[in-house]
Amino acid sequence: MAKKTVVSFRLNGVETDVMVEPRELLIHALREQCVHTGPHIGCDTSHCGACTVDFNGKSVKSCTVLTVQAEGAEIITIEGMAQGGELHALQEGFMQEHALQCGFCTPGMITRAYRLLKENPSPTDEEVRYWMAGNLCRCTGYQNIVKAVQYAARKLRGEAVETSHPLLEEAGKPSEPVTA
């Protein structure tokens, strides 16, 4: 076993020190030492993106980063998205547009979309799909994820937002045939 070293970084705005072996992956340090279990592990090959964190202003799959590489880094995880008791527009959008089911990919998805909207506040649907292609979801089929990102984009631009799923079907709308 190699000697452990201290690594210091800012995690969601908080100065954090961890003691790690040189080989310890960032995702393990975050989940097991920092108890930030939002980022998840879904594959061994950095395909799924469930472990995505924001690392010095870039989306990074934290399963392919050694913790020692994080010395001095600024890291944002899903746990740092809500500010001052308010959900981030993306978190609200994911809920309002039903962009999650099992929830396992959601922290990575939101963290990735956070970076997207920082770089491109008005993406097209196609751009959203392209940007999110490093994050796999097995439940939603992505359609509502695209909608959720657009919901958040609108809200962050200061535009009015509305869920695509009103609680009750509008009165007067012709009902679908009931064929009992």
Binding site: D44, G141, L168
Partner: protein, 802 residues
């Protein structure tokens, strides 16, 4: 009753039919879910599995000395260590046994050989690398048809001389069972007399459900109290408790199984796997919590594949396309151990739904289950037991017949549908379909997409020799069978496939409800509350739904095969009605009228003819704890165990339009229109989400997923590098639609929905891809329809020559 107050109260209630936002979401969007790998316990150690590189080999020697010498390695267990506890083999759901750790012999690649327990996951992995195993490689067999040849390698030496299996006689050392259903002779006569017959071979390749979270568990045995607690990725925690009890001889009352948040299941998390057993056994021995979490490649290559059905279908029909008979022969590859997750009496699951949506008078099905040197499983990947295979077969066969007859494939379906007035409909293979309206569904889809217009466009495209893109139109009109199931037909390890709900209404009118099912993303915590809201008048927002903890939830068979709504949802509705009926008695007592004089109105009981006199459920709940009529128990609780009288039969009509590049094999899905009928709709938003997800998983299976093997039994493609999981870029945009045909036997008429889109879309993609080449005589193309395989078809037809 005016409309205004109703709307307001309806909104407050958030009952059946509302697009209620999900109760699960706040924790997931903030990274506060608790999945198994998030569970941390004091003194917890980690397990890692040593696996066989060979598909078939004898184990000469296992030397763990180097591993044990590594600081931080606590123990290494092999079959020898498990033998004193009789844990080296375990029963499977299909009546077979499976080696927990290889007992002198391995029968599939990556089979579990030894389990290394260490202080952390890094040391466990290092330790696993240091366990030296000496193998003597033996010949392997991976093709199920070759497995039945007389001199085929023996997959299971432990079964030598065993001529009786769990499902009847075995006729060959690699034969598991032969299952037949239908009238063989009558069907044969129908074929002899038929004007037209068609035959088609098709392979439904081996695939894997691949949920984003892999399998894992944390087992914790308290040596002082004798209690065993297991956090586990299970779709059926109560069944796990029974199995663990059987294996460990710890009484079930001392075992607590908890399925916390589950990161997707899709059938992968139904079974009990060697990793779980090893973690539990190690914890019992060590008295420390032991965590075992699968890697992705372990997940893809050892825990529960789906499909691997080698099918031959035959149809007999008249010249004008009226189907007279269906005959099916299947060779089912079950891998090295028969761990197929089906109800005990149904070795091919509900495959006999393969007569589909059509009034076919005669049918006969024969399925041979076969051992090969591949990993065990045979789970239902987002479908009810073997229904995807059945629907694929009949939908492909209908297309093949239409093509032979030169008929349009929508037209031949309309000609053969079971008509609305024929329900309940008895199929020739022994099922009773509850309700359906197939023609309305298909016509609605054809109108929505302008079917005639699409066919005209296709004809023009086909007539243009310079067209770079071929156009294919796929149509399926499927019938699912879900909601297993009636206990007279269905059991798992002898336990009937009922499900359950328990509701406790607190004095303040809020409630907690617990079920025997377990959500893995389906949104039970949201939708079950809606059922209770509508049935018992308690606002969904104050109903806490809990599942997955065997210490608190009533016994149930879990969530798979779209059984939560048909079975668990029915139990919930009936349980809520029990609450309502007790509330009626209390309300009558409070209002000093007869219970018969009361009317239930959304959230209150109103005296008939006196709308001003009413008691709300909130008021009644309070009274239940201080003022009940004499002779009535205090409190407001109920429990219901629901044994369904029949399955439910959701259906749908799907249409896919795609364009294929004849030079590259590239496929672009232009349009996918999915109409689903799942009976009564509980939450339209969640239904839409389930359909998007099912369609996407169907797209994945049809267009790219496959777990291929080479001749030596090496599994190729056991990582996400090779195994296709579509990203947002490839995934098509889905259009959804619906009709509502309630189930007549379900308390609220709901049928279950999440699996229909998977079951229905896969043959629709195959139908569309094949259709692009149909004018050149192609009748069927096996999946996966990746660009290379499509290009090969184009190449074979000479279409790629410029």
């Amino acid at each position: 009753m005016g409309l205004e107050p109703n709307l307001e109260r309806l909104t407050q209630l958030e009952g059946i039919g509302c697009a209620r936002k999900r109760r699960e979401d706040p924790r997931f969007i903030q990274g506060r879910g608790t999945y198994v790998d998030d569970v941390k316990m004091p003194g917890m150690c980690f397990g890692a599995m040593v696996r066989s590189p060979y598909a078939s080999a004898r184990i000469r020697k296992i030397d763990a000395s180097r591993a044990l010498a590594l600081p931080g390695v606590i123990a290494v267990i092999t079959a020898e260590e498990l033998k004193p506890f009789k844990l080296h083999w375990m029963p499977t759901l299909a009546g077979d046994v499976q080696a927990v750790l290889a007992d002198g012999r391995v029968s599939f690649q990556n089979q579990e050989v030894a389990f290394v327990i260490a202080e952390n996951r890094y040391i466990a992995a290092d330790g696993a690398d240091l366990v030296e195993v000496e193998y003597e490689e033996l010949p392997a067999v991976v093709d199920p048809r070759k497995a039945l040849e007389p001199d085929a390698p023996v997959v299971r030496e432990d079964l030598a001389g065993k001529t009786d299996g769990a499902h009847g006689a075995r006729r060959h050392h690699n034969h598991i069972f032969t299952w037949e259903v239908g009238d063989k002779d009558k069907t044969a006569r129908a074929f002899e007399q038929a004007e037209v017959t068609v035959t088609q071979d098709m392979l439904y390749p081996r695939v894997h459900p691949c949920p984003l979270e892999t399998c894992g568990c944390v087992a914790s045995f308290d040596k002082v109290k004798g209690d065993l607690t297991v956090y586990i990725t299970s779709q059926a925690p109560h069944v796990v408790r029974t199995v663990v009890g059987l294996l460990s001889s710890v009484p079930e009352s001392k075992i607590r199984i908890i399925s916390p948040d589950i990161g997707g299941g899709f059938g992968n998390k139904v079974g009990v796997y060697p990793g779980y057993v090893c973690a539990i056994a190690s914890s019992i021995v060590l008295g420390r919590p032991v965590k075992w979490i699968e890697s992705r490649s372990e997940n893809l290559t050892t825990t529960a594949f789906a499909r691997d059905y080698w099918m031959t279908g035959e149809l007999a029909a008249t010249r004008d396309g009226v189907i007279k008979a269906l005959r099916v022969k299947v060779v089912a590859d079950h891998g090295a151990f028969d761990a197929c997750a089906d109800p005990s009496k149904w070795p091919a699951g509900m495959f006999h739904v393969c007569t589909g949506s059509y009034a076919i008078p005669n049918a006969f099905v024969s399925v041979d289950g076969v051992y090969t040197n591949k990993f065990p499983g045979g789970v239902a990947y987002r479908c009810s037991f073997r229904v995807t295979e059945a629907v694929y077969l009949i939908e492909r066969m209908i297309d093949v017949l239409a093509q032979k007859l030169g008929m349009d494939k929508a037209e031949i379906r309309l000609r053969n549908f079971i008509r609305k007035e024929q329900f309940p409909y008895q199929t020739p293979l022994g099922l009773e379909y509850d309700s359906g309206n197939y023609e309305t569904a298909l016509r609605k889809v054809m109108d929505a997409v302008d079917y005639a217009g699409l066919r005209a466009e296709q004809a023009a495209r086909r007539a243009d020799p310079g067209a770079e893109w071929l156009m294919g139109i796929g149509v399926t009109t499927f019938t699912e069978i879900v909601g297993a199931g009636p206990s007279k037909m269905c059991d798992i390890l002898g336990v009937g496939m009922f499900d359950s709900c328990e509701i406790r209404v607190h004095p303040d009118g809020s409630a907690i409800a617990r079920m025997g099912t377990i959500t893995q993303g389906q949104g039970h915590q949201t939708t079950y509350a809606q059922i209770i809201a509508s049935e018992a008048g308690i606002p969904a927002s104050v109903i806490q739904v809990e599942e997955g903890d065997t210490a608190t939830a009533p016994y149930g068979l879990g969530t798979y095969g779209s059984r939560s709504t048909p079975v668990g949802g029915a139990a919930t509705a009936r349980c809520a009605r029990k609450i309502r009926e007790k509330a009626r008695l209390i309300a009558a007592h409070l209002l000093e009228v007869s219970p018969d004089d009361l009317e239930f109105d959304l959230d209150r009981f109103v005296v008939k003819g006196a709308p001003g006199q009413a008691k709300t459920m909130k008021e009644i709940a309070w009274a239940a704890y201080n003022n009940v009529p004499s002779g009535l128990e205090m409190g407001l609780e109920a429990v219901d165990y629901y044994d369904p009288p029949n399955f439910t039969f959701p259906f749908g009509a799907y249409l896919c339009v795609l364009d294929i590049n004849r030079y590259t094999g590239e496929t672009k899905v232009r349009r996918f229109y999915a109409l689903d009928d799942c009976g009564t709709r509980i939450n339209p938003m969640i239904i839409e989400g389930q359909i998007h997800g099912g369609l996407t998983e169907g797209f994945a299976v049809a267009m790219g997923q496959q777990l291929p093997y080479d001749e030596q039994g090496n599994v190729l493609g056991g990582t996400l590098l090779d195994y296709f999981v579509p990203t947002a870029v490839e995934t098509p945009v889905w259009e959804t639609d619906y009709t509502v045909t309630p189930s007549p036997h379900h308390p609220i008429g709901a049928k279950g929905v999440a699996e229909s889109p998977h079951v229905g879309s896969i043959p629709c993609f195959s139908s569309a891809v094949t259709d692009a080449f149909a004018h050149l005589g192609v009748t069927h193309m096996d999946m996966p329809h990746n660009a290379y395989r499509i290009w090969r078809q184009s190449h074979a037809l000479g279409l790629d020559r410029r």
